[in-house]
Symmetry: C2
């Protein structure tokens, strides 16, 4: 019944997060009605996403600028290469959009680790374990000046900026156990955010208060 190109588009796009099969079908008809030039513009912006890199420290997606870093080596993003930011305070967030929301409050001057969306079963994916290991070895190597009497290098603080939900609580205690030896204190965002809500949808004011009242 559906033309083949529409069907293929709908199949592909309904795999994307938060796009259902019906919306995908409507999008296909809509885009097909826009004509060749507009379709080219759309495929161009998607191909443009190929030019992004992942920051090897915080795992943020960024456009590598030509000036920073060495050729052939993954480059640090703008936040991680900013010398004015404190290296000893680290916020662990699940998603890029959570990071962006925190940055907008202008209340946080440390750096980030994007861990990826956490499972509801309280287990970490292999990729998430790798990212935690990267964080631990960064702390060991780069934060020697902060080492305690025991000789163990520690960050001053790790903020577990995960959603204030039941699953977030579960995952926060998991991460807290993993990182206990690596930080002077491990905090979470203040519960200014309504319980059950999501970081991404909080307004800047609420989120700013949540940073102030973390603990």
């Amino acid at each position: 019944m559906l033309p083949d190109p529409i069907k293929k588009f709908a199949e592909e796009f309904s795999k994307l997060p938060s796009i259902g099969p019906r919306q995908a079908t409507r999008l296909a008809f809509y885009i097909s009605s826009l004509g060749k030039n507009k379709i080219k513009e759309i495929t161009d912006v998607i191909s443009g996403l190929n030019n992004l890199e992942t920051c090897p420290r915080c795992f943020r997606t960024h456009s590598p600028s030509t000036s920073s870093g060495q050729a052939g080596k993954a480059k640090l993003c703008g936040i991680c290469s900013d010398p004015t930011r404190s290296k000893s305070i680290i916020a662990i967030v699940e998603k890029e959009t959570d990071l962006m929301s925190l940055e907008k409050t202008k209340k946080f001057n440390g750096w980030y680790l994007i861990i990826g969306e956490l499972h509801k079963n309280g287990e970490l994916e292999p990729e998430q374990k790798l990212r935690l290991s990267a964080l631990k070895s960064f702390i060991k190597k780069e934060l020697n000046g902060h080492s305690t009497s025991s000789g163990q290098a520690k960050a001053d603080e790790i903020i577990l900026a995960v959603n204030p939900t039941i699953y977030g609580d579960l995952n926060a205690s998991l991460l807290k156990k993993e990182l206990a030896e690596y930080a002077g204190k491990i905090t979470r965002l203040g519960r200014g955010i309504p319980t059950g809500g999501e970081i991404e949808f909080a307004d800047e004011e609420t989120l700013g208060q949540a940073i102030d009242k973390r603990g």
Copy 2:
């Protein structure tokens, strides 16, 4: 703050119907994380939408088969070129997806005119006027056998399959006035569909009843 390719993607995609800026941004990060091969697959399905044609009779989007029609001339779609379907009963729908919903009921054996989404101010766009003119001249040329004593060619019936909303009612009376001389009777779908709802979301059963009870 956002990497340039993400920003461009989000700008382009939030212009599409039912995609907001926030969803577009999340999609951009998601797609960029899929890697080059997957990004190529996605741009391919979009480019595939270039291979579609608009049926010159019902204005449906379809994949022209190589067998039907003459070269260089726009080809009729599968429904309009089906000799078993009655030419003298015509359903006017707003969207492709409305047509698809009606086809699924298997209760309608006429053909369609896709008029495009109707405005809330009760005025037709130039393109919509062209489509109505195309319908009128089709009726004049092809339905001569049905001409009444006055000599005017008429369709047996035109079903105004527009949404049963206030705006749908407004637009239906507009279309009824336009087409009064061109059909033996002009009907609307039976109000089996809950008032305020949309054709696209009705289940097949309800929509089948609505076809039975049209009038």
